[in-house]
Symmetry: C2
Subunit: 162 residues, 2 copies
C-alpha cells in the first residue's frame, strides 16, 4: 500500500465522526436546548450540573453526604449545587431529626406541589417534541442503548485497566 493510500484510508476513518464525537455533540446540543427552554420558562439560572442532582434526591429528602456518594463527587461540589438550587427555591435544607449534624436536602413545595414540577414539565415536553420528530420507538431504543452502553462503561475494569 502506498503512502497516499494509507493517508486516504485514514482520512476516511477520521472523517466518519466517531461514536464518541457524535455522542458528545448530541449530548451538548440536547442539554443546551433543554436548559434554554427551562430558563426561558422559569427565569431561573438552571444549569446542567443542577439537573444532575435531581435524580439522586429522594422524596423524603437526602443528606448531602449521601448525594455526594451517589454522584461520585466531593460533598463540597454537591454542596455548592444544592446551595444554588436553594437560592432558586428549588430545594431546601431541613435539619435531619435523626442527626443533629445532618440536614436533609429535599424539593421545595409551593401551592401543594413541588416547585420542580414546571421545569420538569418543560423537559418532558421537549423530549415529547423530539419523539414526535424521530418517533417514540427510536427515542426509547436510543435510551435503552445508551443505558446498555453506560453499563459497559461503568462496569469496574470492564474495558479500561486501571
Amino acid at each position: 500500500m502506498t503512502v497516499d493510500e494509507v493517508q486516504k484510508e485514514e482520512f476516511e476513518l477520521r472523517k466518519r465522526s466517531s461514536l464518541g464525537q457524535v455522542l458528545m455533540k448530541a449530548a451538548r446540543l440536547l442539554n443546551e436546548q433543554a436548559i434554554d427552554r427551562v430558563r426561558a420558562r422559569t427565569e431561573q439560572d438552571l444549569r446542567p450540573a443542577h439537573t444532575a442532582v435531581f435524580p439522586h434526591i429522594d422524596l423524603e429528602g437526602t443528606r448531602l453526604t449521601v448525594l455526594a456518594a451517589r454522584m461520585g463527587m466531593s460533598k463540597q461540589a454537591v454542596g455548592q449545587l444544592v446551595g444554588e438550587l436553594e437560592a432558586m427555591e428549588v430545594v431546601e435544607r431541613v435539619p435531619d431529626p435523626s442527626d443533629g449534624r445532618a440536614k436533609l436536602v429535599r424539593f421545595c413545595q409551593r401551592d401543594g406541589k413541588l416547585v420542580l414540577f414546571e421545569g420538569l414539565a418543560v423537559l418532558i415536553e421537549f423530549e415529547a417534541e423530539l419523539a414526535e420528530q424521530l418517533g417514540r420507538e427510536r427515542i426509547d431504543a436510543l435510551h435503552a442503548q445508551l443505558t446498555a452502553l453506560l453499563d459497559v462503561l461503568e462496569a469496574p475494569q470492564s474495558l479500561t485497566k486501571k
Copy 2:
C-alpha cells in the same frame, strides 16, 4: 388528585433519568475512557477539544478561519487548539501559497504516515471493544440514532440560531 399523588407521579418522572442525562453521562464516560487510552498510548496531552478539530481538517490543509467557521467557534479558540496540536506535532501550519496572510493547518507526517494514525487506531480499537460487548449492530444503531437526533437538534427550526 391529591397532593401526595401529584408528588409521587412527579417523583417517578424525575427518577427515570431523562434522555439528556443518560446522553450526557454516556458521552462523558466514553470520552474520558477513550482519551485515557490515547494518552496512555501516545504520551500526548490530547483532550476532547482537540479531537473535535480533526474532522474539520482537510487532507490538503485548511485555513484557521475556515476551521473556526466549520466548528462554529471563534478563530482565537481554534487557534489555541491548533497551537497545542502543533506543539504535539500532530498538525502543522504551512503558508497558504494562494494567500500571503493565510496559513494552512494540516496533519504532520512522519515516516510517510500521518502522526494521527496511532491515536486514531486506539480510538477504533476502543470502539471495537465496545462493539464486542454490546454487539456491533447495537453500536451501529446507536450511531444512526444519534445522527438522526443531531439532525433534529441542528435543524434551523431550533431556537438557538447562530
